[in-house]
């Protein structure tokens, strides 16, 4: 039995590595079949074709494709992503200045919206037919239905300009305060972006969790627990919620990698220095090393999340855990 599980996980990890490899190859060719290269976007009458050729050579774009691929794979394996074409700075350094902002923004927003959504969902499921359930359902739908940039721009107009209580750009004041004040300053700047993301994100969680919980409530063992006269709170959190937890965790892990797409728009609207905008700019500027590195890190994060999700699911559904043995 243990051998089987081992075997399954072994296969699963190998499979993930294969996925990673495919993603890497795809990334390499995707950028290169996109017409144009980083040099061709420089159009400046004072920049002659001859000078462009020099620049191409410096970027290594005149090398044969297999050599470029070799260098690309090498850079990813050694985690030395080389230098960005656009800024000539090491890609890693570019990413390093941006990752804290993005991780804090998305991480906090994601956690808060998930927690709020889960709590509301559980409460709504508990009080079937109540006003609370209706409000949660409606608020959840509305939260899901508005385009993110619309909500963010409206918030920015209201709280940044009409009632200017929040800053309209960036993650710190200029000039920045020092000491503890700097932390408050940072939080103050992040409030509006995070608030907007929570507003947009909690709805799908609330509805998802409510549906999940309702299904759980109709299971026999909950009825049994009720019949036994266990306290309602214990049934709710101790039994029903615990039973619904694996799919929630799975959902959590699967949704995690996808939130970066939201970062692009949020970072644009609130002028934040983050990874999303960096990715967009790198793609538009054909900055292969930068975009390649960002994609690579994302792919790793996604694959780790997927593996963890599988693992979490495997805990509840033995059929999955045993893999494809019943053939």
């Amino acid at each position: 039995m243990i051998k089987l599980i081992k075997n399954y996980w072994f296969r699963r990890i190998v499979g993930s590595l294969v996925v990673l490899l495919v993603v890497l190859i795809l990334n390499f060719f995707l950028f290169r079949i996109m017409p144009g290269d980083p040099v061709s976007t420089i159009i400046d009458p004072h920049f002659s074709p001859q000078a462009k050729q020099h620049l191409r050579a410096q970027f290594g774009l005149d090398l044969p494709l297999y050599q470029q691929f070799y260098l690309y794979v090498k850079s990813l394996v050694t985690f030395n992503f080389g230098q960005s074409f656009l800024s000539q700075k090491p890609v890693w350094e570019e990413l390093r200045t941006r990752i804290p902002n993005t991780v804090f923004l998305l991480g906090t927003a994601f956690m808060l919206s998930a927690l709020l959504g889960i709590w509301l969902g559980v409460k709504a499921a508990q009080k079937r037919g109540s006003a609370l359930e209706k409000v949660v359902l409606l608020a959840g739908s509305i939260s899901f239905s508005f385009p993110s940039f619309f909500v963010q721009l409206v918030l920015l107009m209201i709280f940044g300009w009409a009632i200017p209580i929040f800053p309209i750009r960036g993650s710190l004041s200029v000039p920045p305060p020092s000491g503890m004040a700097a932390l408050w300053d940072f939080l103050w700047h992040m409030t509006l972006p995070i608030f907007s993301l929570v507003l947009l994100g909690f709805g799908s969680w609330a509805i998802y969790v409510r549906n999940l919980m309702i299904k759980t409530f109709s299971e026999d063992y909950i009825l049994l627990a009720r019949a036994k006269g266990l306290p309602e709170n214990k049934i709710l959190w101790g039994h029903a919620f615990r039973a619904s937890l694996p799919p929630i965790v799975t959902m959590f892990l699967l949704a995690l990698p996808g939130i970066l797409s939201g970062a692009v728009i949020t970072e644009t609207v609130f002028s934040l220095h983050g990874v999303g905008k960096f990715l967009l700019d790198s793609i538009l500027g054909h900055d292969y090393p930068a975009a390649g590195a960002a994609f690579y890190l994302l792919a790793i994060i996604t694959i780790i999340c997927n593996l963890t999700a599988d693992f979490a699911y495997g805990l509840v559904d033995p059929r999955i855990r045993l893999g494809r043995k019943m053939e």
């Binding site: 144009g36 004072h46 000539q88 750009r169 993650s171 710190l172 220095h273």
Partner: protein, 562 residues
């Protein structure tokens, strides 16, 4: 009633006579003339260049006083909104921008001159400017923008006149089919649908719309045009490969007209060359060569005039509009310099600006994007140079009122031409200022200039490649004199060399790899409080917080400050 009316009327007629007879002569209100010689500065202690990417937040920040200076305002609504405020000063200048439509002259029917002329008459530029830019652009008909010192107004203008366009075509033997499509002379089949390349709305929201309006106006003349919208780099690739019918594009020119050589000389019609339309005309080639290698200003002016006349007659482009530069500054600051050729957000204003109420405070200047790099050897974007331009200076500066050359690091200069057998050489002699020190305290000498030019030449830095490519030698007869010898003769050499940013020799010597050099992160060998990002300019680099701001401080030892 009668008499006063007549007077007002006559007065008004006088104004309007001026206006409608010479539509090109415009004055944008009073210039703010400050005598540049008398400027002692900078007065500001702290300068923060704050990064605001979103145009909405730029406007809101300016209105709430979080920003003091906002340059390059494009959206008509913002112009309208800001100009209705009392606490903000708006300035406008003509720009070196030129937006045009190009033909692929290598192919039929674009090599037909009559068709090109007719199409030039079919573009309602005035209407475009009104509808798309609310009037805040200049419709143009020539190959250099009017602000250029070499602008020649007296060339063939293709005013909007669809009737005339039809007449030109009819005269050249073109006919129209039943469906109103153009039939070329000597053929009985109408023209097939052609495509007009334009960048997507993401790059420039108005360009796509402008292109579709151009396509519409061509279609109404009988030329069926389809818009092909491409990602900018993709579009450039197509243009590089000459795989197109029509395209729209914009150039940002400089005050020297030798760009015309790059755009229209037949030798520039290579893959990736800037003669995208593929003009091959031996007469124009000759004039452009005269322009490129003009030995002095007079011959440059003459060649530029001829080139503009000939280009207008050949109509290889349809020039459409030129953007005005518009900037806004909060009125809490005084001492600004601006003219119809330079908006108020310039280096001269920065040197002279001080708060109206006398209480010094930091100045907040808007930077719409992060600088990509602060390594001046690799920096290329306008945002990089918005910062670096305050730190480094060049030998020759530009007068904000006339755009003429004025002394900067060089006090005076002269140009000599020498002939060695069949070879011609140009010698530029610069006499440097003697009272200039680098921000780290080192004295500025001719050695710095020499080291800079030789470094750029030796490492073939792409950015400066064309500027120093023809340099043969650099000599320093004494500490304050530099002699730069270049192959061939060209009047533009003076600007090529005079416009180079000058770097400190004592720091440049230690740069091992110019590509990965990070001057803003390395400690200065002379002054541990400073970085290696030191120049002779008015501001010292203090700190760069990516995505947030660049902090600069006044350089107290600046040569204009003494």
């Amino acid at each position: 009633m009668r008499e006063p009316f007549r007077k007002i009327c006559l007065f008004a007629i006088a104004i309007f006579a001026c206006l409608f007879c010479f539509p090109n002569i415009q004055s944008f209100g009073a210039n703010n003339v400050v005598n540049l010689e008398n400027i002692k500065g900078p007065k500001i202690k702290d300068l923060y260049m704050v990064i605001y990417r979103d145009p909405d937040s730029q406007i809101l920040a300016l209105e709430t006083g979080k920003l003091d200076v906002l340059g390059d305002i494009i959206r008509p609504v913002d112009i309208k909104r800001l100009s209705s405020r009392d606490d903000i000063l708006m300035t406008l200048s003509e720009g070196f921008h030129i937006f045009f439509l190009g033909f692929n002259l290598r192919e039929y029917p674009w090599n037909d001159l009559a068709l090109r002329k007719a199409l030039s008459h079919a573009v309602p530029r005035k209407k475009f400017v009104r509808d798309l830019f609310a009037g805040y652009c200049l419709p143009i008909y020539t190959y250099l923008p009017p602000v250029s010192p070499y602008y020649e107004p007296d060339v063939t203008h293709y005013e909007y006149d669809p009737e005339k366009a039809k007449k030109i075509l009819a005269k050249a033997g073109w006919k129209w089919s039943q469906g109103g499509l153009l039939i070329p002379p000597g053929s009985d089949k109408p023209l097939e649908k052609v495509s007009l390349l334009c960048p997507t709305a993401q790059a420039a929201p108005t360009t796509a719309e402008l292109a579709s309006r151009i396509a519409e106006s061509f279609s109404s003349l009988g030329l069926p045009v389809e818009l092909e919208m491409l990602d900018f780099s993709m579009m450039i690739k197509r243009l590089d490969k000459h795989d197109f019918d029509l395209f729209v594009m914009a150039w940002s020119l400089s005050r020297d007209p030798d760009n015309l050589f790059a755009f229209f000389h037949s030798s520039m019609d290579t893959e990736g060359g800037y003669n995208i339309q593929g003009l091959h005309d031996s007469e124009i080639d000759k004039v452009l060569e005269d322009l490129r290698w003009a030995p002095d200003k007079d011959s440059a002016v003459k060649a530029a005039k001829e080139a503009q006349e000939m280009l207008s007659d050949k109509a290889p482009w349809i020039p459409i509009y030129s953007r005005y530069m518009i900037s806004a500054i909060r009125k809490d600051w005084k001492g600004l310099t601006f003219s119809k050729k330079t908006t108020a957000d310039n280096i001269w204003s920065l040197l002279n600006m001080e708060p109206v109420n006398g209480k010094m405070r930091p100045l907040y200047w808007c930077l719409p994007e992060d600088p990509r790099t602060l390594n001046p050897l690799a920096a290329g974007s306008a945002y990089d140079w918005a910062v670096l331009g305050l730190i480094y200076e060049s030998l020759i500066g530009t007068d904000p009122y006339t755009l003429d050359d004025i002394p900067q690091l060089a006090l005076k200069w002269n140009i000599e031409t020498e002939t060695h057998g069949t070879k011609k050489l140009t010698k530029l002699v610069f006499h440097l200022r003697e009272d200039v020190t680098w921000q780290d305290g080192a004295l500025f000498t001719s050695e710095d200039v020499k080291e800079t030019i030789l470094f750029l030449k030796k490492h073939q830095l792409p950015r400066y490649f064309d500027q120093v490519n023809n340099v043969v030698s650099v000599e320093t007869p004494n500490e304050h004199e530099v002699v730069v010898t270049l192959e061939n003769t060209s009047y533009w050499y003076l600007h090529n060399i005079g416009g180079l940013p000058i770097f400190p020799a004592h720091i440049l010597k230690n740069v091992e790899n110019w590509k990965s050099w990070r001057p803003e992160r390395q400690e200065n060998p002379k002054d541990p409080k400073l970085t290696q990002l030191v120049g002779t300019g008015p501001f010292i680099f203090m700190e760069y917080k990516p995505g947030e701001y660049v902090h600069l401080k006044r350089y107290d030892g600046y040569w204009k400050n003494r």
